[in-house]
Symmetry: C2
C-alpha cells in the first residue's frame, strides 16, 4: 500500500490543497505532467499522500503499487475484489467491504520499492 489519495471535486481542489498543506505543515507540489495531482511530500513518512481533483464526490482511496499489474490485480480478485475500470495503467477495484483501491505501476524510488514491497509466491 503506497499511496493515500484525497480525492476532491475539481472546483474545490485549490481550497483543499490550501487546507491540507497548512494542516499537515507541508509544502504542496504539483507535477507539470500530472496536473490533477498535488502531492503533500512527507505528510507521512513512507506513504505518498496526494490530493487528486476529480469529477466526483469527495472521498479518500488508497493505491497498491506493484511491478506486475496483471498478477497483483488477479491476486486481489482472488481475494474477493472486483475490477471496476481502467485508466491508463491504473486499475480501479472495489474490495470486500465496499472500498475503492487502485492498483498502480511502481511510482516510488525503485530501491525503496524493492526494500518495502511484499513478495507474493
Amino acid at each position: 500500500m503506497s499511496t493515500l489519495l484525497i480525492d476532491v471535486p475539481s472546483a474545490e481542489a485549490a481550497t483543499a490543497v490550501a487546507f491540507w498543506s497548512a494542516a499537515l505543515g507541508v509544502r504542496p507540489l504539483t507535477e507539470p505532467d500530472e496536473e490533477q495531482f498535488t502531492s503533500l511530500p512527507d505528510a507521512v513518512p513512507g506513504l505518498t499522500t496526494a490530493i487528486q481533483a476529480v469529477d466526483d464526490a469527495p472521498r479518500y482511496h488508497v493505491d497498491f503499487e506493484t511491478d506486475d499489474l496483471d498478477a497483483e490485480t488477479q491476486r486481489l480478485i482472488g481475494l474477493g475484489a472486483v475490477e471496476l475500470s481502467r485508466w491508463l495503467d491504473c486499475r480501479t477495484l472495489q474490495v470486500p467491504g465496499g472500498h475503492l483501491i487502485c492498483v498502480i505501476p511502481v511510482h516510488s524510488d525503485p530501491n525503496e520499492f524493492i526494500a518495502q514491497a511484499r513478495v507474493w509466491p
Copy 2:
C-alpha cells in the same frame, strides 16, 4: 496524521478484515477493549492502519493525533474545518473539500509521537 481508518459496515467487518489482512500480508489484531477496531500492524510503516466497524456506508478517514485536543481542533477550525460531532475523546471534523477527519488523543508510543509530531506555535 497518524492513522488511516477503513470504516466498514458492521455486517461486512469480518469479510473486510479477511480481505485487507490477506491483501497486505499482515496479521490482524483486535484490542479487547476496542472491539470495533481491528488493526493491521505494519501495513504501512509509521501509519497506524485499522478497520473500524461502523453503522454507516463504507469509507476511509484519517486521524490527526495530538497532545492538545482543544488547541488542535481550534487550529483546524481556523483553517476552515467544521466540527461535526464528538465521541469520547475524538472530534469529527469536516474539512475544506468535504473530507472527514478525526482529532484524537495520543495513541502512539509517546517517544514516537514526540519524534514525529509537528509543533505549532
